[in-house]
Point group: C2
Chain length 347, copies 2
């Protein structure tokens, strides 16, 4: 009997559909060779739907999504839509409603990837970015908008409940890794209330993981180490906004945003988790067939791992690694990269 | 007649006193050769004072400081003091009380400086970081602290008044530069209220500076460009927290935090401005005489420039540049670097 996984596919905007197409081809192939298959439900959420109907994420769609095994997302955002409408109304709404409190972002410098750093350091860490709190909660507002007396506030909300669960997840991930080291990144010398909650929580959870070592860095200092000494990092746990910033920088030093995968994970499995490349919709190159689908393909490895198919996940990662190591200097199309990874997978 | 400038000296914690000593020697020398002198008022603010008296910045000291021509600060923060006490009570209190709304942070890759980036790109930009608003306002709080029901909030406050004045200053600085390009950095797809205020303000002020071109980057994307294409930046204007993060990264790619100078400037000159290295108190190397005083010395160049002594400022910068270009691979002591710069200045 063939095991069937129900996967919601949300290609989204810009290059999203192009990279999701390649990711699905790879996912189908690896599932087939495991004697399994994906049954996709397609959702045309994003700019087109918003222009047509004014909807970003209808409640009925959200209810349907709750029933799938996992979600594969391309990218969200388009210059024809006011900044924030799709990001808040679709992408962040999914992360918040589905309680994706672990935003998992591995950073590994594969052989063959091009880092802007001199001397090609060894880089292999994972960022556990909190996904449901912090400055992302949408708790802002403004008065006297458009007048010289406008005041615009944004509130970062942080709870012991929310911080503790993501910190515990990060400790557990660190414990499963070779170096077993966890770095908390925050800005507790300025954001003293939120920052001290994070620091106290790490200290409180640490005794449960006696073999995991910990340290602390302010977010500004962390950006320095990411370019001068990235090999110092093993697992980073940090808040939603700092995680957003650090993972783009981490992607840049490990070969670029075209390679960076992510998972929006609910470790409690009460809702489906969602996998997406870290990159955005890149409207400037959308439709030209040059977007790198590697990040989307690697995101399917995270998806497979989350579904318990860790051997399949490892095969996808190995195929990408082999492809990167062997690729020539000539630019390749989206389709060419997809086909090359597929060939490695099947070869 | 000798022109005398009244300079408040706040060496502060850790390596602060060591680097301020060298900076003062250089400042004295360059002033003397301009037929001027500095009259220093010394303030022992920082960890020692806090332990002795519980004071961070007494009101009486703040009143005295209002009367000086400029403030030279070393570094603030010590592991023996809870994180945030000195940062918020002393450093940030000075920036806020003295209305230092322009936190000026030039980033230039000097010949001889070592960048972690491959290919040594051309880097010469300046970050205009807002200094009196945003998440730094100290408008946070927490309830049920230490219980599983703790909630810790931090409020970012942004006003049309505060954003407009710093944006106008950034435009004016861009207009005085060769490339005349201004990049707004924010996160307006998530922090929509604050972000849109910033974006609208840049759009509203732009017509006053028709020869300045502008663009916008999300903060996460900006960190990517800082390592993959730093030469794209000319002037960056951004909020207090994003500016904090970007300028540490900018320092890292232009030779390290040991070289990065900053000015906390009140362009309206209703209060004295304050000049300090971007680096912190570095307690791990305090007292060992190995801290690099270059950032503090370059901060005196910003101080001189602010006092209208632009030729003297240029001489300090040229002396540092010559020293960096000629330095050998051997590590130098704080004193040796100070003396080498002094020799260049007088040679
Ligand atoms: C598109 C945007 C809302 C999103 C974020 O800020 O989380 C993106 O930058 C990311 O990192 O996934
Ligand atoms: C010490 C700290 C409060 C300060 C800041 O966050 O502004 C420092 O990092 C800086 O950049 O000057």
């Amino acid at each position: 009997m063939t095991q069937t996984y129900r996967i919601a596919s949300i290609p989204g905007d810009g290059i999203g559909p192009e990279v999701v197409a390649e990711a699905r081809t790879v996912l189908d192939a690896v599932l087939a060779s495991e004697g399994a298959r994906a049954d996709y439900a397609d959702y045309d959420l994003g700019a087109r739907r918003w222009h047509a109907t004014g909807e970003t994420l209808p409640d009925s769609v959200l209810e349907e999504l709750r029933g799938v095994d996992a979600i594969l997302l391309g990218a969200v955002g388009d210059p024809s839509v006011p900044s924030g409408v799709l990001e808040r109304g679709l992408l962040l709404r999914l992360r918040f409603e589905l309680d994706h409190y672990v935003n998992l972002r591995p950073s590994k410098l594969f052989a063959g990837a091009t880092t802007p750093l001199a001397g090609s350091p060894q880089i292999d860490f994972v960022v556990v970015r909190e996904g449901t709190e912090g400055p992302y909660v949408g708790n802002g507002g403004a008065i006297r908008v458009g007048t010289p007396h406008e005041v615009a506030n944004e509130v970062s909300v942080n709870t012991a409940y929310g911080v503790e669960r993501v910190v515990r997840d990060a400790f557990a991930r660190a414990q499963r890794r070779e170096r077993k080291h966890l770095t908390l990144v925050h800005k507790n010398n300025v954001l003293v209330h939120a920052g001290h909650l994070w620091a106290r929580t790490v200290a409180a959870v640490a005794p449960e993981f006696p073999d995991v070592t910990t340290d602390y860095l302010h977010v500004d200092a962390a950006t320095i180490f990411l370019v001068t000494k990235p090999e110092r990092f093993d697992v980073i746990v940090t808040d939603n906004l700092f995680g957003d910033i650090l993972t783009d920088l981490a992607a840049a030093v490990t070969g670029g945003i075209g390679l960076a995968a992510s998972g929006n994970v609910n470790p409690d499995r009460t809702t489906p988790s969602m996998f997406e490349p870290v990159h955005g919709s890149a409207p400037d190159i959308a439709g030209t067939g040059v977007a790198d689908p590697t990040a989307a393909i690697l995101s399917t490895a995270l998806l497979l791992d989350h579904l318990g198919l860790s051997a399949a996940a490892a095969r996808v990662e190995a195929a990408v690694e082999a492809d990167l190591a062997a690729r020539g200097p000539a630019p390749r199309s989206t389709r060419e990269v997809g086909e090359a990874v597929l060939a490695r997978l099947q070869g």
